[in-house]
Amino acid sequence: MKKRSEVLYFTLRNKKLLIGSGIILIFLILALIGPSFTQYKPLDYASPRGAEPPSAKFWMGTTFFGQDVFSQFVNGLRATFVVGLLGGGLGTLVGMLIGFTAGYRGGIVDEILNAFTNIVLVIPTLAVLLIIAAYLQVRSLMMECLFIGLTAWPWAARAIRAQTFSLRTRDFVDLAKLSGMKPLRIIRDEIAPNMMSYLVLVFILQFGGAILTAATLDFIGLGPTNTISLGLMMQYAVLWGALPFGMWWWFVPPGLAITAIVGALYSMNVGLDEIFNPKLREI
């Protein structure tokens, strides 16, 4: 109880964490309740007059085709969070599973898992996607998350393996073994907390990477066909000349949102590092 309140104390005092999580929370709320503030569907042709700057009717203006940018933005935000959380989460999870096992067990287990990691690492993602796309007629957002998660984990696994490798030779791990702790508990209670901020960073980078990969996939026509994402918005904007025609309301919001989300997550990571590592705390 005492320990818990102490962590809470340092959490509430940490500005970097508070600002970061505040920004994420704002976008999350926007993604959750935003769609109910607009009567237009993201891909509906709402305005007959084509591209229009922001107005009282269209809060963020309309696209080249007269679609409501606000509706696209909040719905895209939703898809972006889903891809980031599920795709990035899955990538982190698989990376942790393989990295911890290889690093802690060592020996032949490590060699096999390392070889597997390297094989997945060098598989050309796009080529595999083209093949998969050729076989699948309907592609959903979940499929995209699954694919991103299952191809993005190798570098996370390698980094986690390397850190586990160095941590498991430390004396406190030996001492934990002498206390009769089981391997799973040693990994969870002794090794993982030491790299907790690193695991959060891995998740953040997987999160951002998943968003960017999703945008790339959407752009080459291999993403889900029936939805919108921030990446897709930017790609459409560039494709239909939003830059030369000065339609800033089309490409600035999604770009700003992606930057703000990833930046906020990074700020959270630095803040969490200070909470997890007492040496970095500002007393």
């Binding site: 004396d171 030996d174 001492l175 073994k177 002498l178 206390s179 009769g180 702790m181 007492p278």
Partner: protein
């Protein structure tokens, strides 16, 4: 009580584990109840490897370690936990023995959770305070602190207190005072002596001869994983027979004597000496035959064993040739 029987540890090194490194070679000794045995050797002599094998952190490649007659290699699950109830270790570096992100007293909580879940928190708190007092620490000053807020001596005594909570009968003390400064050193040493008086057996791993002489009854001198000399500490110190032991004795600085002439160091050019005496490369009195076969460990007098060809035959045992230089 604890017995090592021709224990060896071979590491696979190099690409694809193609080369073998013999870290410990057929070491045998026994530690009796209430006895302190010193394991003396330089860096890389395999002394820490032996300690880790006793603590089951490493597996011996050959040979057997038995505790009260039972092979410790066979302990699994509850039996292993029971072994750790009685056999514990304290390591050289007090700072790396603690998980830096948790408070130092977490080691006591782990012991509580793993070994004494039936003891109430209040009673456990009392036990911890008692154990801390018995290692000369004031519980109010040292509890609820992070490892970096405590000194090396305090952390090291914390680890000993942790072992006391378990009520152990055998302690592996791996260079536990080499990272402490001189004033706290003697406190920890005396603490070990007190524990010994209560019947605790200690394997005292060190590179410092004077410490070994101060605390132990038996000594094992290791060189590159091989026993050079072993037996009663008095006999080894008063009558060192192996050239390596003598070199070690010469290297100990003394308060009553100025350093006049350094020990003459020998470094023979030997490529991959596979047979022969392990000390051949540096031995000042080596002969050609030393390069041919490894001398066996022979008992030259009661409770005094040496592995050196000069003492193989009984005749000139106690008349060693003068050390060259």
């Amino acid at each position: 009580m604890l017995r090592l029987d021709k224990v060896s540890k071979i590491y696979r090194v190099g690409a694809f584990g193609g080369k073998a490194l013999l870290a410990v070679n057929k070491v045998s000794f026994e530690v009796h109840k209430g006895q302190v045995v010193s394991l003396i050797g330089e860096s890389g002599s395999g002394k820490s490897t032996i300690g880790k094998m006793i603590l089951r952190l490493l597996k011996p490649s050959e040979g057997k370690i038995t505790y009260n007659g039972e092979d410790i290699g066979g302990f699994e699950g509850e039996a292993l936990k029971n072994y750790y109830r009685q056999v514990q270790g304290v390591f050289q570096d007090p700072f790396s023995s603690y998980n830096p992100i948790f408070k130092a007293d977490r080691i006591f909580r782990v012991v509580h959770e793993e070994f004494f879940p039936q003891v109430s928190a209040a009673e456990w708190g009392e036990r911890v305070e008692k154990a801390l007092s018995s290692v000369g620490l004031n519980p109010a000053h040292v509890l609820n602190k992070y490892p970096h807020q405590l000194s090396g001596g305090q952390l090291q005594r914390f680890l000993i207190a942790r072992a006391l909570l378990l009520n152990i009968s055998f302690l592996v003390a791996d260079e536990i005072i080499s990272m402490l400064d001189a004033s706290t050193r003697i406190d920890v040493l005396n603490l070990l002596a007190d524990l010994k008086a209560y019947g605790l057996s200690i394997l005292f791993i060190t590179h410092d001869l004077s410490l070994a002489y101060y605390i132990s009854e038996q000594a094992v001198i290791l060189y590159k994983g091989n026993v050079a000399e072993q037996g009663a500490v008095e006999k080894i110190f008063n009558n060192p027979l192996h050239p390596y032991t003598r070199m070690l004795m010469e290297s100990v600085p003394r308060l009553d004597r100025k350093w006049e002439k350094g020990v003459r160091l020998v470094d023979r050019d030997v490529e991959n000496l596979r047979t022969g005496c392990p000390y051949y490369q540096r031995c000042p009195v080596a002969e050609p035959r030393c390069a041919l076969s490894q001398p066996p460990l022979v008992e030259v007098e009661q409770d005094h064993w040496v592995a050196c060809v000069h003492y193989e035959s009984g005749a000139d045992v106690l008349k060693p040739p003068a050390l060259a230089g």
